[in-house]
């Protein structure tokens, strides 16, 4: 009989978990640590090589490892910045200066009515009969926010924050992109799902299959994005069609607002099939009995939608919305934007372009400007930001809780 001694048990456990542990350390933990290390250095195109004689650099820098060739370049090696957090300071230092903090405070004030509205709705939900419908509470909060924006001169506030550096501009623009693209995609997907879930529509299977086409095409998104780019070029399809109707051509991709709108449109085309499928699946899981009972009670289509459909599909679509907002179709959007505008149109030298979202900015910093250390610091800040946003979204949406708890 084999004894199950403490040491043997420990070794068995270690051996079983070692492959996974090594994988996590190598592919998850090491890159994060390496990136954090680089973010404290002055590594850029002029100081690209490490000083392998430094103990820590020799351990963490892959090009110092024996299997790789040591550089024979004539540049000075990169070193730790003086002060070490200089890259972080360059990115967000001005945001935390006096005027920056004041402007951020004013911006935060605009959100307070919305937070209060959320709390009021929670309290009202607990009452047997609501004195006010929730949309009126939200509407009131939005009016107060708008009033505050006017009182606080929000344009000046935003100007102050934009002058603080690229970081605010890029992150603010990306948040704006997410705030616009996610609801547009889901509302469009929901409308189509509601239509194609109706028994009155003939050939529903065919139309449902057609709706999948953009999703399937997203596997070759670069080509599809270039097709969209061609549509909106100055000499492109859209302007040619407009010309037939004697409408002056528009410089879609040279105008910052239009370029941003086109990115939203193309992302809608790529993303709505996903939203459509999620919502259609959720709709089909709703029992017909509920609607029959509502019909008997004399509920209108709108009442059924608000009181039966939306609450019952909520557990399915809220996690999908959160994932869309954080993922490659939202905050981490890169491919579509890069293929269509490459972050442009430019607003001038040393400034992020009009569609330069977080990932596009990071890519440009690394592969065009070759500001490796600055891009590393940027990535660390974005990681912290996304980590907090994810935790908060998990808390407010309760994704991890049971769907019908």
């Amino acid at each position: 009989m084999v004894s199950w001694s403490g040491r043997r048990k420990v070794w068995t456990i270690i051996l079983f978990i070692a492959p996974t542990l090594i994988g996590i350390l190598l592919f998850n933990i090491y890159p994060i640590i390496y990136n954090v290390f680089i973010s404290f250095t002055n590594r850029n195109q002029y100081h690209p090589n490490p000083d392998c004689s430094q103990t820590f650099t020799g351990i963490i820098e892959p090009s110092c490892w024996p299997m790789f060739k040591e550089s024979s370049g004539v540049s000075e090696p990169y070193r730790i910045q003086d002060p070490p957090f200089a890259n972080y300071s360059a990115l967000i230092g001005d945001l935390f200066s006096g005027p920056g903090m004041l402007a951020m405070g004013k911006l935060f004030l605009l959100i307070i009515p919305l937070i209060i509205a959320n709390q009021i709705n929670k309290i009202l939900d607990r009452q047997l009969t609501r004195p006010l419908p929730s949309y009126l509470v939200w509407l009131g909060a939005l009016v107060v926010s708008a009033l505050l924006a006017w009182l606080l001169d929000i344009k000046t506030v935003l100007d102050t924050l934009q002058k603080s550096g690229d970081f605010f501009v890029v992150v603010f623009r990306t948040i704006l992109f997410v705030i616009l693209t996610v609801p547009i995609n889901y509302i469009f997907g929901m409308v189509l799902a509601l239509v194609l879930n109706s028994n009155y529509i003939k050939g529903r299977t065919f139309f449902r299959a057609v709706m999948i086409i953009p999703w399937a095409a997203s596997t070759m998104f670069i080509i599809m994005s270039l097709v969209w780019q061609f549509f909106f070029r100055e000499q492109g399809t859209v302007n040619q069609i407009m010309k037939v109707f004697n409408i002056d051509p528009v410089r879609w991709l040279s105008d910052p607002t239009w370029a941003f709108a086109i990115i939203l449109l193309v992302n809608l085309w790529f993303s709505f099939p996903f939203c459509f499928n999620i919502i259609l699946g959720a709709l089909q899981s709703i029992s017909a009995d509920q609607y029959e009972a509502a019909d008997v009670d004399g509920a209108s289509y709108w009442q059924q939608l608000i009181n039966i459909t939306l609450p019952l599909i909520r557990p399915a679509i809220v996690p999908a919305i959160v994932l869309s907002a954080i993922g490659a179709g939202g905050f981490q959007m890169f491919g579509t934007v890069w293929a269509i505008t490459a972050g442009g149109p430019t607003r001038g030298a040393g400034m992020p372009g009009a569609t330069e979202l977080v990932m596009v900015y990071a890519y440009k910093q690394v592969f065009q400007v070759r500001a490796y250390a600055l891009a590393g610091a940027f990535a660390v800040i974005i990681f912290i930001f996304l980590f907090i946003a994810t935790l908060y979204s998990l808390r407010i949406t309760r994704i991890t809780k049971g769907a019908y708890e």
């Binding site: 060739k69 370049g73 000499q235 410089r251 030298a349």
Partner: protein, 418 residues
């Protein structure tokens, strides 16, 4: 016994066929210099950015080399982004033996250690100065070391469709930008919906193709060898104001492909481009002529040897291939096929080459041009100048704002280096 005789006969037959195959014809590129003949099979990988018909003529030269040197195999590869690919390949001991690249990359690549000092491989300044043009020699020397062999000199000029325009439609003085503006306006008035000139830097961030305008107005350089930027000069402001006026008479959005299509399809009369575009225009069957306009960047197309080729022991063969490729005979062939301006002095002075219209057109443009720096400071100019030009072109910034922002961005980048 008979088996041995058959074997011997077979070997002789194969050897004779190979010798016949190696015999150069009058039309093919020829190997006239003494070559390094490796005893063992060697594969030389070349990373390049050549394309289309331009690449076909280049490939013929390498094919001629491998025929003359059966032990050498030359593999041509075209990575999406040479710089990024090198960054991964070189430390891993992988990647090319030779890189075909412009000379402005020399400083940055030498800093990282991706390319080898050719002086250590036996290339001397005497060899360079006796073989190549002085401007080309300057372009491959940095910090008193030789980092590449020059292939051709290049710069941009106005290539116009002779079916749409004549020399009278363009300024007779290549530095008369007021005349170019007036002629662009007159051309558009006479040909509604069409443009006199398409420049891929006007409407698309591209500091290289914008250079004839900036330098034509007297900006000495974007950034000089000492790291001084020149976008805060009165000349830069004059050029910027001209761009604002000219934007009314030129396509708003451009790229290499858009300009090529506009020229071939008759939507634009001229394309501000370089010798690399000529092969495609000839394939399209377009009759063209070339005129100088402004002061372009004079770049040197070069071949560099990677530090990995030295480590692998293939540098000697790689250098031999580079010498073969850049010799007078092969560069004459290249110039005749691709309308390039050879860096090799003997090829440039060849009567047939001198008779080429492209030599007259692009040559006149290069004579006015500004040499492209090969120091690492050159890396600071591309983004800011391209963005400033586009911001002025689209009206996103006033000339003053755009120039100030570009100057600040270049100064900041240079300060990072210093």
């Amino acid at each position: 016994m008979s088996k041995k005789i058959w074997t011997l006969l077979s070997l002789l037959l194969v050897a004779s066929m190979m010798l016949v195959a190696c015999t150069p014809t009058a039309e093919e590129p020829v190997a006239t210099e003494e070559m390094v003949a490796p005893a063992e099979p060697v594969t030389i990988t070349i990373w390049h950015q050549w394309s289309g018909d331009y690449e076909t003529a280049i490939k013929a030269i390498f094919d001629a080399y491998t025929v003359a040197n059966p032990n050498v195999t030359i593999v041509l590869e075209k990575p999406e982004n040479v710089s990024d690919a090198l960054q991964v390949a070189i430390p891993a001991g992988e990647g090319p033996d030779i890189i075909g690249w412009a000379n402005d990359q020399i400083g940055a690549q030498a800093l990282v250690g991706n390319i080898a000092d050719l002086g250590t491989l036996g290339v001397t300044m005497d060899e360079l100065t006796s073989t190549y043009e002085p401007a080309a020699v300057n372009g491959v020397v940095w910090q008193d070391k030789i980092w590449a062999l020059p292939e051709s000199q290049e710069g941009i000029a106005l290539v116009y469709n002779t079916a749409m325009a004549s020399a009278e439609d363009f300024p007779s003085d290549p530095l008369d930008f007021a005349d170019l503006l007036a002629k662009a306006e007159a051309f558009q008035a006479a040909n509604p919906g069409k443009f006199l000139v398409c420049n891929q830097a006007l409407g698309n961030p591209d500091a290289y193709h914008a250079a004839p305008v900036w330098f034509g107005f007297g900006v000495p350089e974007y950034v000089d060898d000492q790291g001084v930027a020149y976008f805060n000069t009165p000349e830069a402001l004059t050029a910027a104001n001209w761009l604002v006026e000219f934007s009314a008479f030129a396509p708003a959005e451009t790229s290499h492909e858009i300009c090529k299509t506009m020229l071939v399809e008759g939507q634009a009369a001229a394309w501000w481009t370089g010798p690399w575009a000529i092969a495609d225009l000839e394939t399209a069957g377009m009759d063209y002529a070339i005129l100088p306009m402004g002061r372009p960047f004079v770049g040197i197309k070069t071949l560099m040897i990677t530090s990995n080729a030295v480590d692998r022991g293939s540098a000697e063969v790689a250098l031999d291939i580079m010498r073969f490729f850049t010799n007078a005979e092969n560069q004459t062939t290249m110039a005749l096929a691709n309308k390039t301006i050879p860096a090799n002095t003997a090829a440039l002075n060849n009567a047939q080459v001198q008779a080429l219209e492209s030599i007259a057109g692009f040559g006149a443009s290069l004579n006015l041009g500004i040499p492209m720096a090969n120091t690492p400071f050159a890396g600071a100019q591309w983004g800011p100048v391209g963005d400033a030009t586009t911001a002025i072109w689209t009206g996103a910034q006033t000339p003053e704002e755009a120039l100030a922002a570009a100057q600040a961005a270049m100064d900041e980048a240079i300060a990072t280096m210093k």
